[in-house]
Amino acid sequence: MRGIKRAGILMLAVVLMFAFSTSVLFAKGTQEKQKAAAGKKEAAPAGKVVVNYWSRKTGSDGDVFSEFIKGFNTANPNIEVKMQVLPWGEYYGKVRASILTGNAPEVFDVSVYSPPMFLKYVESFTKEDFTKAGINMADYAASAWEAVKFNGKYYGFPDGIVPLGFYYNPVLFKAAGLNPSTPPKNLKEFVEQGKKLTKDTNGDGKINQWSIIMTDNNMMRTWFWESILDQNGKSLLNADKTKANFNNKAGLDAINVFLDMSRKYGIAPKVPGNSGNAFITKLAAMDFDGVWTRKMFKDKITFATAPMPQLGSVKPAIWSSMDIFLFPKGYRTKNPAKWEATMSFAKWVMSKKFQLEYTKAAGQLASRLDALNDPELRADPHVNGFLEEVSSGMVVYAPALKTTQEIYGVISESLAAVFAGKLSAEKALAQSEKQVNQILARK
């Protein structure tokens, strides 16, 4: 019996040792892989350098982009760009895991507030680098370069600008006796026109056309609230981004202006909803939405765009993100052929032809000035409002911090409670301020 027990323990020890050694070997292999990131990618088809590009373009913008890439691959027979679109929810986790395990793609895109998460792990550039690469920085919006600049270095290529903005239905404007070429520019005009657009069209005593439906998307609501906060002369965080700066009259007014659409002016229903769908189904004559939505609206409804009306009291402003290309460290020094191919692809994305065509075909706006000022685009009602927002300098980029996503997370939950009638605006701001300061205070 004792012998059996001893043998059993011995066997178990052997098994455990085997299992742990497998784990250790596995872990060690992972670390080695990480060190040799650049050299260990999959074999390219004969004579071709493969460039893996990971993207969060999950909408129609991704479809358009991948079609454009086919053109690039045809024009560059020695390079094959493989685009992989990953869902938003898991995107940054997968990119991080790929960097950790040494399987990072050669290039990936991020939003304007995400580069700080990756600064240690991606290539940086100097002005000279861009000049050598044949990219004239003066050809692009200065604010776009500022968005990729950290600690005096540039950490990526500003691929495109993605602002929020204002859509309206000119047909419903005409039917309400309004001039579609003079959409509202401020709160007074917005309410006046909104009252004319809010009506019972079938005579059943119930309103079936609202001027606007407030979005039920927590994040979008937060970004629009931040836009009005900026319009009221304040910003989300203080100048050195160490404290919350929104628990004040400007923040409160920014909430109230949206609540008032229903409770004071009666031009929006009390309950928020899918504002884009409401706009398509003509339940709403106007819509506050992102530039990316225009592609979805295009085939479904007659619409026009205008700069976001100034609903705040100080200046015009609108929240914006950007699409930024980042390049994981390793390839530049360890695999020059791959790096060169990646740079060819990046330069192609920054070219006037691509930026212009992509802006025409998809959602986001070009970061190139000549594409932004293209006369054909400027005359296109589907996009000219957004272009005007960028060129007039009213876009405000989301603050770039490692914790921005988390900060938006806590604010959006508080605002959701306000719009659900579960929390007062004052309490929501105080609660969010405390939480945001806790996040910012964390090392």
Partner: protein
């Protein structure tokens, strides 16, 4: 020589079972034990999922969760509410269905299949399916309600009833598990006990109370433990229905863990939540086991 052969045979006898166990044990150690201890280690570190360094921070992650995290207690509350609503209702409904299906019933096989079918659907599909059905603007449920003159309801948008709706969906999806287990338990109760109860003049209700329920004690213990553990692990169906909202109404611990770990990349804190869940489940299971044992001894 003879002794050598005998000891070789003896050794083979001792070694062979372990060789058969080796594949499973290796898998168990690599995929279960190792991650368990690795998780415990990470819970005492600060790790952003990318950095090769994981600095030791002691109990800081636990301290943060208990005293500074704005959503930890919110998610504990949501988890407890989910358990309170989910576990008892699934036990009662599961038992009721099992008792009905255990009777001589027309189309018994069909009914059993019908009850079991939702259980084979993936939780992600259940989430998406009910997300469509309950959509306030274009959902099927509101469409039918409007047909009967009832105004559309803000399903999954108004936080007041969201948890109850999530639990109802979970019951529809997973009630088959309890039903099948209870059905097996019912079939294990000797028929003679019912005959004896009948002879003693017991009504059907008295038979159920004095024969069926005591006969299902072990089954119930198993179900309660499994349901409590399962409720702490609830994620997929809730995530796809509500993402933990609205206003954190359904932000159960697993959703909080996922957000902290995979949205905000604070892996140390996410691992600490996993450790807390593990300890809670362990303690609850031990308490429940001891309660059942005491009641068994009493009987």
């Amino acid at each position: 020589m003879k002794t050598n052969t005998r000891s070789l045979v003896l050794l083979r006898k001792k070694v062979t079972p372990f060789l058969f166990l080796l594949p499973f044990l290796s898998f168990y150690v690599v995929m279960q034990l190792f991650p368990l201890f690795q998780n415990l280690r990470v819970s005492f570190t600060e790790w952003d999922m990318m950095s090769p360094e994981k600095p030791f921070v002691g109990l800081a992650n636990f301290k943060y969760l208990f005293f500074s995290d704005p959503f930890f207690w919110v998610s504990v509350k949501a988890t407890l509410l989910y358990i309170v609503l989910n576990v008892p209702s699934k036990i009662v409904i599961g038992l009721a269905l099992a008792v009905v299906l255990n009777q001589r019933l027309w189309g018994k096989a069909f009914h059993r299949t019908a009850i079991f079918l939702p259980f084979v659907i993936n939780s992600a599909v259940v989430g998406l399916l009910f997300g469509w059905i309950l959509d306030p603007q274009s959902g099927m449920l509101n469409y039918f309600l409007q047909k009967f003159g009832i105004p559309p309801q803000q399903w999954l948008v108004d936080p007041t009833w969201t948890m109850e709706i999530v639990v109802l969906v979970t019951i529809w999806w997973s009630i088959a598990f309890n039903t099948i287990v209870y059905l097996a338990g019912l079939q294990g109760i000797p028929e003679e006990l019912y005959d004896a109860a009948k002879i003693d003049g017991c009504s059907p209700w008295q038979s159920f109370w004095h024969v069926t329920l005591p006969g299902l004690r072990d089954t119930t213990m198993f179900i309660v433990i499994m349901q409590v553990i399962g409720s702490f692990q609830a994620f997929g169906n809730i995530w796809l229905l509500t993402h933990g909202g609205p206003v954190n109404a359904t932000r159960v611990l697993m959703i909080h863990l996922y957000r902290i770990g995979f949205y905000y990349f604070r892996m140390g804190q996410a691992a600490a939540i996993a450790v807390i869940i593990f300890i809670i489940v362990l303690v609850l299971t031990l308490i429940m086991l001891s309660m059942f044992r005491k009641s068994e001894l009493k009987n």
